[in-house]
């Protein structure tokens, strides 16, 4: 192999490695700060909001004014689950999702076995608690 070719191969390898390295860091950054992080944070946030409402002795209305239109929110069985809306179909509270990595977080209800709510691409969420019964709508 002549020297000219060796140098050329080395340069090309260097550029390809640099490109791959930069792309990987961008993928990691997108994954860690984008939709996936929002999905995880929103599930936790909604679960904590529900816990806090149950802890209040009063009738309560809370407007959760955060656009979650990229997701389908399922609140049931003392658990908040967020699915990627792009991979999910909702048909009358029945969820058919191909999202392999839904975000989940648990809350603890107070004397309320019936809390169930499916919110399809909600742009905001309203929590109402009257006489100890919580309703969640979008």
């Amino acid at each position: 192999m002549d020297k000219e070719n060796l140098v050329l191969i080395a340069i090309v390898t260097l550029f390809v490695s640099l490109f791959v390295g930069l792309t990987y860091s961008q993928i990691t950054k997108y994954y860690a700060t984008g939709k996936v992080a929002l999905k995880t944070a929103a599930a936790r946030d909604i679960a904590l909001t529900i816990d806090s409402i149950y802890a209040s002795p009063y009738d309560t209305v809370i407007e959760y004014d955060y656009d979650l239109s990229l997701f389908v929110v399922d609140i049931s069985q003392n658990r908040v689950t967020l699915y990627d809306a792009a991979d999910t179909e909702v048909d009358d509270e029945y969820i058919d999702s191909g999202d392999n990595l839904p975000s989940q977080y648990s809350f603890v209800s107070v004397d309320d076995d019936d809390l169930k709510s499916v919110l399809d691409r909600p742009e905001h969420i309203t929590f109402y608690k009257t006489n100890g019964v919580l309703k969640i709508t979008s």
């Binding site: 990691t28 994954y31 860690a32 936790r44 904590l48 002795p57 603890v108 004397d111």
Partner: protein, 158 residues
Amino acid sequence: MKIFSHKKSQGALSNYPFWICFTIAIGIVSLIIVKIANVGVDEASRIPKDVEDKISLIPRFYSSGDCFAYTDDVGRVHARVIDANEFENVNMGNCFQRSDVRYAFSISLEVPGVVNKGPINTFNWEGGPASKEIKEDVIVFDRIMVGGELEDKCIKGN
């Protein structure tokens, strides 16, 4: 082009061991990326210390009428006033219903020399040493109102 017609390079590319090593390397790099990204996601959505247990979960014990808070004759619930007669295991089932929550509690009620009740445990309390002890000042309703202390022992799961 000469670079792509080099015999040794072609040999390496048509070589099975090369492709096996290449695939393993890609797999390892992908795993590292997913691991780093997951750490990033966890960090970005981490719940600050004391928020879930102390602010979201514990107040129900002394503020919810379905737990141990005092409810007067007209149905008004008095936050931070505990009805000593309601401070029983039987009320914990409604107060802290079954779920996959990561926290477990064991609570006791004490007014020195007057009331000493508990501990009452949540369904997921498995005993053993508590990871945290939290004391809350409350008023205890036991025919008369007296000052008291609610002690929450808390275990955080994974």
